[in-house]
Symmetry: C2
Subunit: 175 residues, 2 copies
DNA sequence: GTGTTATGTCAACCGTCCTGACCTAATTGC
DNA sequence: GCAATTAGGTCAGGACGGTTGACATAACAC
């Protein structure tokens, strides 16, 4: 039944697979990989500028959303970023110490800390968004059927359905 | 010239900015934010499945590219992922120990370690890519002007120009 | 045989997240 | 008015995924 040259179970399990995956309509390799590379380079734009301040990506995200929605409270920020207050803490402190953000006690509920950018924080945030917008603009310009709405719809469709309401709220100002 | 109620320089620097940024054609907030949220949820799909194996995103990326290009050498992987061999080391070791990958000495140059998936590694990689492809498919279906080429072109345009050759090479198989 | 290349490994460090526990101040409910 | 809850902050300890620098080994190139 089984000769000396047969593979036993261990051999089969550890055998290399030499072929690349077959084309399959359930496997969209091009778009999966392009999304990965595109995001990598999209993020890299900002990283360089942030490094000058000793900031990382966490600082970038906080700076961005506070600028977008001045007067945001800490709880809202935690909700958007989906991190814990323990991990937000140091990032927020550094941004306040560096003079990019200020915290103001809430006028009605004085437990709340309303978050505002300073002019310095606004300037940095705008600069970062400009870099990223420039890359997006360049990418759209290179397309034949340059349909900005299609791309917006595509990206929106990539968001988890439960989350779309939250994101829509954030976008209410401009579309 | 300056009365007691005027702001001095320190006050100006630390003054909160109350207004949201003005609309500006150089600031594409919607697409910048949608790209952020879309990538976050795109990645989250896989995270859950990876957790069952005690793997993180680094494992995912290695698993993906080795499956895409069986026989890849370590140096190629480092080049694609843009990380150091010191940080790749433990990830690779874990994937070999768990039986998802195997390393085989290069047939010509025996210093090289050719990386292959096992059937187990292939299965996991396919499963992960299927999840992500499903989300992309859903996003495309929701668009009126459902132009797959536009989206591919857009994402390609987002990649750093110097990098596009490398990515194109990776895609040579299917577009 | 010497120099270079492909890979691996040790050590120390950083950023960004986590959980759990605890604190203050302010608001709310009864 | 007092107790419970809420908003926020903080300390401790740990995990992961990355970094740099230095060094080791094996194999190839000339």
């Amino acid at each position: 039944m089984s000769g000396p040259n047969d593979l036993n179970n261990d051999d089969i399990a550890s055998a290399p697979v030499y072929q690349a995956p077959e084309p399959d309509e359930d496997l969209d390799f091009p778009l999966v990989e392009l999304f990965f590379f595109a995001y990598r380079d999209f993020i890299a734009d900002a990283d360089g500028m942030l490094e000058e301040y000793g900031f990382g990506r966490a600082h970038h995200r906080v700076l961005h959303f506070v600028n977008r929605r001045p007067g945001m409270v800490v709880a809202e920020l935690l909700d958007i970023l989906r991190i814990t207050k323990q991990s937000l803490g140091p990032v927020l402190r550094q941004l306040v110490e560096s003079g990019h953000l200020v915290q103001i006690a809430g006028p009605e509920d004085r437990r709340q800390r309303l978050l505002y950018p300073t002019q310095k924080g606004r300037n940095l945030s705008i600069q970062l968004t400009q870099m990223q917008s420039r890359r997006i603009k360049g990418a759209i310009e290179g397309i034949k059927n340059s349909d900005r709405e299609s791309i917006r719809d595509f990206l929106f469709g990539m968001i988890e359905p439960d989350e779309r309401e939250l994101v829509n709220g954030l976008m209410e100002q401009d579309k």
